[in-house]
Symmetry: C2
Subunit: 157 residues, 2 copies
């Protein structure tokens, strides 16, 4: 079935797991490229599958599309990533993951100390009200950026 070198949209969606709309969106954002058939339909080089796999992995690590685009732009052309490419990127990702993990652990540990110390009022709890004048003394807040949501709008398969 794949005696020719170019993939159709259908093949790409089946093999990447992305919806056609997502693939078109990524193309519109410059994350991937497509050629066109005589009739205007997209044809993809096989390497687009690698790019899409990369996009998914990076998205799972929490990178925004802009960040992913920046990383993709660093891999010159469509060559297979070298060991050095991969090492650099995974270092980047690993750091991101470690940060996320530590932020969550701090939060969890605060929770522990709250329940441990019987801090029931939430009035001066470090994981909550930071700006109340009454709590101003206990400084060092543990702010966290937005964290993951249950059931995010991310369909599988």
């Amino acid at each position: 079935m794949d005696t020719h070198d170019l993939l159709t949209m259908g093949e790409v969606t089946r093999r990447s797991g992305y919806a056609a709309s997502a693939v078109r969106y990524y193309e519109s954002q410059g994350l991937i490229q497509a050629r066109r058939s005589a009739g205007g339909q997209r044809t993809f080089e096989r390497s687009v599958l690698r790019r899409l796999a990369f996009i998914r992995a990076a998205a799972n690590v929490g990178l925004s599309l802009d960040e992913i685009k920046a990383e993709l732009d660093c891999l010159p052309g469509d060559r297979t990533p070298t060991k050095a490419d991969w090492a650099r990127m995974s270092k980047h990702w690993r750091r991101r993951l470690e940060e996320q993990i530590h932020a969550l652990e701090r939060l969890r540990d605060n929770l522990d100390s709250c329940i441990g110390c019987g801090c029931l009022s939430l009035q001066r709890c470090r994981i909550s009200n930071p700006n109340d004048a009454a709590a101003a003394q206990s400084a060092g807040a543990a702010y966290l950026p937005k964290v993951l949501r249950r059931d995010p709008p991310r369909r599988r398969a």
Copy 2:
């Protein structure tokens, strides 16, 4: 200054750290309640500050407003949460945090094994392409829900 029992919007915003628009939004969503003055301006009971502190803490733990509302609805009325209330909720939160932490650790460890084993192609990497027929054999995907973003649209103070 607080010889009377009811708080104005200004006092609430100053003491909670939330913008007035956010406070109004929470009221519209049924997370907090407000009375009205003769002229139609909001007045809040002091307990609203505790609710707002709770909302912030829960949001930091990653709960959606709907979930937070559900938890708030479990605390009957506006009584100060008992030790049991707090224990129950913090157990809930702690579980949420543990799940998030473990998901991230799995991802990080996959990253380690990728770079360790020289899995450079991303073709059958467990943290990426799960649906490609070529990777179908390596089952057990490590899907992750959406994770935190850098610089989320969350202003401080």
